[in-house]
């Protein structure tokens, strides 16, 4: 399994290779801490091959995206809550189709209601969202929705579609400019970084296609049930958010980037009817005590 690296470290490493010929093809056969950079090289040789991005590329794009999200809100300074969310999230992810990704879950110190996925196994949830929930099954339901986005590569596909063939050359430029910045040459963000950041920012402020959201709801309910949780956790969170004042400043973006909550619940009906039959013999835990204990322990 590949070790995920922070973008800067990986890009700095790529930099060491790039100046030789200023060409991504120099990456052929290069491995940096277990991350095979050959796909970057071959994709640069033939852009038609970009349709199939390797997991390494997904991880690189994911780390860049996660880093950008983390610039907007810091991680909550609470190791207990962070560990708990990672345990729930990792367990949920182990019950998905991509159990072997290097999953990372983080609680953002923001009162905004939100949960976000990034390619490669990054999932974030805000303190504001945690505050709206009352059980581990609800947390698992929301995390499972985000895990489903990663399983289906929804964000990766959207980034690919918007960036087109230019993305890889942008990434290579990140590397080059990062090295220049390190040697004290450049100041501020290089243009290509801004381009990528803008693209990702647009994606996260406008949201995915509605179809992707409905799909993540349906898959999320199933994944939570597989993990032994009461699958209605997700529906219950949605019910709760639907009760909040819809012009509440902390909820505005959530509503903007997701389909109408009533529609989402209606769309979930067949999935829940299915789960009522197929998941009935499961453990169906809600674990509200454990949730409250962790979140109130200080």
């Amino acid at each position: 399994m590949h070790k995920i690296l922070c973008r800067t470290a990986l890009l700095a490493a790529i930099c060491a290779v790039l100046p030789a010929c200023q060409n991504l093809q120099a990456l052929e056969g290069v491995q940096i801490q277990g991350v095979d950079l050959t796909p970057l090289a071959s994709a640069s040789r033939n852009f038609s091959e970009m349709g199939e991005k390797s997991q390494d590329e997904e991880l690189l794009i994911g780390a860049s995206t996660a880093e950008l999200l983390l610039k907007q809100a810091p991680l909550l300074d609470d190791a207990g809550v962070q560990a708990y969310v990672n345990q729930v999230g990792r367990w949920v992810a182990l019950n998905s189709e991509r159990p072997d990704l290097p999953w990372r879950f983080g609680v953002l110190d923001s009162s905004v209601v939100g949960a976000y996925a990034a390619p490669g196994g990054y999932v974030f949830i805000t303190r504001g969202m945690l505050a709206q929930m009352g059980s581990e099954a609800e947390l698992a339901g929301v995390l499972a929705h985000e895990v489903a986005h990663v399983v289906q590569k929804h964000h990766l596909a959207a980034i690919k579609q918007k960036a087109g063939a230019g993305l890889l050359s942008n990434l290579s430029q990140f590397a080059l400019q990062a090295s220049q910045a390190n040697s004290g040459g450049a100041t501020g963000a290089p243009p290509s970084t801004q381009q990528f950041d803008q693209l990702v920012t647009n994606l996260y402020t406008r949201g995915l296609d509605r179809g992707d959201e409905y799909e993540a709801d349906e898959m999320g309910a199933v994944i939570a049930a597989r993990a032994g949780y009461d699958p209605y956790g997700l529906a219950n969170v949605l019910q709760g958010l639907g009760t909040m004042k819809q012009d509440d400043a902390t909820l505005v973006t959530f509503l903007k980037v997701h389909p109408n909550i009533g529609d989402r619940l209606t769309r979930l009906e067949p999935t829940y009817q299915y789960l009522d039959k197929t998941a009935a013999s499961g453990s169906q835990q809600t674990l509200d005590q454990r949730y409250r204990k962790v979140l109130s322990a200080k």
Binding site: A66, A73, M244, Q246, V252, D276
Partner: protein, 166 residues
């Protein structure tokens, strides 16, 4: 001194507990014609058919079912997805929220929610590299699959194989 603090905390806990109990009763409205049943389950006896737009008090949830009471005082169970919480019934009971808020003292100086919602043109690229440090911190919080499995077992969570519906 310490015992006084403990007493205060206990009182606070008691107060929160009662607040939580109160917050548990919520108002809901049916969004479609639905059966009021004797117990939580599709096979339970039907007490009456409730038309759409029926107002209900919701007492608790059990799986996909709410235990409710009608305006006429009849109690029973309705399917969760046939009901929406009543927005006019006021703010959501956020006891966990209150606890979280008080535990994390740092709020944006403006008092207006920012965070991820604050992703905006002027902020992008101006973060000064705190993102990569946070990324390293994030890695430190990660848990292994083995740890996650043990955690699940402690909670009585059992994996089951379920295909996605077609």
């Amino acid at each position: 001194m310490r015992s006084t603090l403990s007493a205060v905390l206990l009182m606070l806990a008691g107060w929160l507990g009662s607040a939580m109990a109160l917050a548990d009763v919520r108002s809901g409205i049916t969004v479609e014609t639905t059966a009021l049943r004797e117990s939580a389950g599709a096979g339970a006896a039907v007490l009456q058919q409730l038309p759409a737009q029926t107002r209900l008090d919701i007492h608790k949830r059990q799986g996909g079912w709410y235990q409710v009471q009608t305006a006429a005082g009849q109690q029973g169970w309705v399917a969760l997805l046939a009901v929406r919480f009543d927005k006019s019934a006021g703010a959501k009971g956020g006891n966990i929220g209150a606890l979280l808020e008080s535990s994390t003292a740092v709020e944006p100086a403006s008092g207006v929610a920012t965070g991820v919602r604050g992703i905006s043109d002027d902020q992008v690229g101006g973060g000064g590299g705190s993102g990569s440090l946070s990324l390293q911190q994030l890695d430190r919080y990660a848990v292994t699959p083995g740890n996650a499995r043990a955690f699940a077992q402690q909670g009585g969570l059992r994996s089951q194989s379920i295909a996605y519906p077609q």
